[in-house]
Symmetry: C2
Subunit: 585 residues, 2 copies
């Protein structure tokens, strides 16, 4: 192999490079700090360097210039990098969105400069052309005196637009939950969040949990139907979001999708049925970038959909996105991430080693499948304390409409404290209650449809009483048992003890309203960790937003997904006995 010496000025760095490789390739390989705003695909013409030859310096683009002999290259003195930081997020990122626009004035073709239109746009060593762009390129160039805006996504030129359209560039990040779909419309020029939209997942009519959805997907037309439901709902959310803000859906060029593996498969019309039989393998874990047209997402016809990678059949892209938000790949000390949605996914480790598992916790902590449960929204009872007084708080300070996950946890913890619930989870009959404070509330023990229940409030928005039933307590026990057992098995596999954990990050709506004491009291999280627990909100949604605004964050999520090893709990000999043990309080 021929190698050439390249001397980089003004720092006088010498590197030895392969013949016929670009300066960009080598700058990247040798870690030379130099910016390629369009990713080096030849469009933006902003990677100008000076190449020394016999006659002095000559300008060239570092992404285009191939090294064919020894060279001296002068790179511009770095100015202080002016980067836009995206605001309104839990952490700042330098804006480098998944779709980019570059407005440019190209030189007119002449007999002396008669390169073809595509090479005029990207240079001779630029990116490969797409037919769709070529089919309209010549007129677009000439109808606007060779002033055009180039749209780049996934290192492709996805569109060339007449004149300067660079002022309008939107993206939308989606967190597709089994129960809820949330969308975040972002201005990719400024990083600003324009609006949020959310709705119930319409697939819910085919089953509340992923297992019933998958069973429906096995039926004739079932997969098509579930796929259509989610695509249709997402298109409606997109339309709603852009209308609210006075934009058009064609202003959106990039979409990120974070969802659990089942939602991921259904979104992509990939059969999920093998997820529910042993050995529970997904069809794909790799990230995907697809054309919006390919699955009928109504954004710009040049738009791209960036789908988060999965980790395993029941640890999906939403957990990857949450782990990205939590920056678990940078954790120096042992961190436990718990993402509580309709399932409960756990990630444990440090930047050196990461393990994950999934527990079929059920949606109790989301307030779902609980008699008077509701999401953490206006009217939800989010906190309860029982002492000489019975106190609760309601989100929005309105009349209560129901009880949120955090309220349920508080209530169970408090009822345990005053021995209205015993350690097996049984609600005691009034005459069985011995605890002096507990006895104060024995009139609240009622029967609802023949099931023993504890009354929380009679004066409600609906006029119907709000209570928690024995069945609800059982749901809480199963859910907390599953997560607690998952934590124990993960710790054992990792070779650590609960007290070694430095921080517990609780993702999901539930985490926003959480009372640390109650969470430990019911045994969801080991008591030794009280004081180390922090709610981090909808971390999956934030991860989808971060990635949309920063290609680096998106790539980081991909790296992270490959770094997290998966433990199949159903195959783990310890899980079942630990789970049974953890069901009790």
């Amino acid at each position: 192999m021929t190698k050439h010496k390249v001397t980089i000025m003004p720092d006088n760095i010498e590197i030895f490079v392969e013949d016929n490789t670009t300066l960009k390739d080598n700058f990247t390989e040798y870690g030379i700090n130099f910016e390629f705003p369009c990713g080096g695909i030849g469009v933006c013409k902003r990677c100008k360097v000076n190449i020394m030859n016999d006659d002095g310096f000559e300008e060239a683009l570092a992404c285009q210039c191939k090294v064919k002999n020894d060279l001296i290259v002068e790179i511009p003195r770095r100015e202080d990098k002016h980067s836009i930081l995206a605001s309104g997020l839990e952490r700042d990122v330098t804006l480098d969105p998944l779709a980019k626009k570059f407005h440019m004035q190209l030189p007119y073709p002449t007999l002396k400069d008669n390169a073809d239109d595509w090479s005029r746009l990207v240079g001779k060593n630029g990116v490969a052309p797409s037919l769709k762009v070529l089919q309209t390129l010549p007129d677009k160039l000439r109808e606007n005196d060779f002033k055009v805006t180039v749209v780049i996504a996934d290192n492709e030129i996805v569109s060339v637009e007449k004149g300067d359209t660079s002022h309008t560039l939107l993206g939308i990040a989606f967190d597709i939950g089994t129960t809820t779909i949330a969308g975040y419309l972002l201005n990719l020029k400024t990083g600003e969040e324009i609006t949020q939209v959310s709705t119930l997942n319409p697939q819910i009519k085919y089953g509340a949990d992923v297992i019933s959805r998958i069973n429906y997907a096995k039926t004739s037309q079932g997969l098509d139907r579930l796929h259509w439901e989610i695509i249709n709902e997402i298109n409606k959310l997109i339309e709603k979001a852009v209308k609210q803000a006075g934009y058009s859906s064609s202003d959106i060029y990039a979409v990120t999708i974070a969802g659990n593996t089942t939602m991921h498969h259904l979104f992509l019309k990939i059969q999920p049925k093998y997820l529910v039989s042993t050995p529970y393998v997904p069809v794909v874990t790799e990230p995907l970038v697809i054309d919006a047209n390919e699955i009928n997402i109504s954004i710009s016809s040049a738009g791209k959909i960036f789908v988060f990678p999965n980790i395993a059949g029941f640890v999906g892209g939403d957990t990857v996105a949450a782990a990205l938000t939590a920056e678990i790949d940078k954790a120096d000390k042992l961190t436990l991430l718990i993402d509580i949605g309709t399932n409960g996914e756990l990630v444990l480790g440090t930047k050196e080693k990461l393990l994950s598992c999934s527990t079929a916790a059920g949606p109790a902590f989301e307030g779902v499948e609980i008699s008077c449960g509701m999401r953490g929204a206006t009217g939800a009872i989010d906190h309860i304390s029982i002492s000489n007084e019975f106190n609760y708080s309601v989100i929005g300070n309105s009349l209560p409409r129901g009880i949120a996950g955090s309220g349920i946890v508080d209530l169970v913890a408090e009822l345990l404290k005053v021995r209205i619930i015993n350690e097996n989870g049984r609600i005691l009959r009034p005459e069985e209650i011995k605890h002096p404070i507990g006895r104060k509330y024995k009139d609240r023990i009622i029967e609802v449809n023949g099931i023993l229940s504890f009354l929380i409030e009679e004066k409600t928005a609906s006029g119907q009483p709000i209570y928690i039933s024995q069945k609800d307590v059982r749901e809480v026990q199963l859910a907390k048992g599953a997560i607690a057992a998952g934590i124990e098995v993960l710790l054992k596999t990792y070779g650590a003890k609960a007290e070694d954990i430095d921080q517990v990050l609780l993702a999901g709506a539930f985490g926003n309203y959480l009372n640390e004491g109650s969470v430990c009291k019911i045994g969801l999280i080991p008591s030794v960790l009280e004081g180390k627990i922090r709610g981090i909100g909808n971390a999956a949604g934030v991860g989808a937003k971060l990635s949309l605004l920063s290609e680096k964050e998106y790539n980081r999520a991909i790296t992270l997904s490959k770094k997290i090893n998966y433990i199949e709990l159903s195959a783990h000999p310890d899980f079942q006995p630990v789970f049974l043990k953890k069901i009790n309080f």
Copy 2:
């Protein structure tokens, strides 16, 4: 940057490689001779090496294995490479077609080996998935006990088929000429040519030459119509070819397309109108690989179309393909390639430097736009000699139906020799003929529709006389003048003289029947080159076939296309005066 030492056994070669790069990357970079049959995308599992660790050797795939510390790698002793050479071509190539199939038995997923389906197919560092393949993958794997055939094209997995379908793998190479379309159906498993099909280009109803087609493309619906005509005709040819051979069009997975720049643009539905106004720039010269579905070519739905790169507005993919066949990129001595079709394209140079130009020669040498002209097929007069006897030969020894390009050139050369045509190209009246042999044939000087003509034969297949008219001679003069002027300007630009040329390669049907003496006599090629001229047949079609059978040849064509510099004759101050001078004989 971290570097690791990799020692390659048994040859004990030490290389120093980047952290986290694959062995494949480094083998390629360091020129280690090792085969990756599927191109290193993780499918074929044939790049097995042994990695030394503390316990001995462990098997790994070189395309998957990332180097994370110092390693000793044992590569298998090379066996004598058994490569299939494609036969029936003007030169042999090692079979490595643009579409490949690999039949494989994958291990069943288990709780211990629960990788997702895609990773099971390609490994963890394999190629990125396509949604289309994922949507049918899980069932295809499981319906056949994880025995599948993987189809690869353009370094993508384009299809996964149930069971073993590797026995059927076809491709078709097309040479799309302004006048004729030729298709060559190849068996990509054996390299064998199955059948050839050809037809007139149906666009001919919108004009015989590229200029009139382009003018039609400017009209409303014109481009759509011309595109549809070519696609429709190609689909008919495909259907005809596979039917003849007892195959189905869905057995075809790869198509190569070589055509001049106008045909290229029309095939792809790219507006060609800017080709005909200064500075004559094409929309694109880069090669394109597109899905067959994208332009409605009826082959396998997984099929890919490989479109040859262009050089300039009037030097297209057909010239690149011809130059590939001629191996002009390996020429040690000065070579002139002349591709005579409806236009005449020239390439001059050696492996060090190559120049090209295009001349609007018109189709006279193809027997088109000549009163009694025809293609070089059965019934065509291909040779004529005039001495004391008037002799001619007919292809297929039938009654003559018309006169081919080579016959026209012979006739003009002979008429010049016996002074029936003077140096200005005028056919003399019988009374003006002075040459003793010429006078013998003065009765053959006739008038056809008031135009002086020379009668060749009255006894013909149609009963109508075959003759050459004054107008035909003028066409020959314009055509040969354009090519001769092109040669002179190219030589001057190159800095060489005609006598410096080592060989002249004449591509196109015309070249098959050519009489060197006549070609030089009429001044198409300088007389000093007589004895150095060789017909190489339909070199464009052969180049399209070679590329279909060998990815290396296809990539070589791309490299070649970038190496050939283009001279715009219309902008060259010498062209017009030289052309006017060369019109005379």
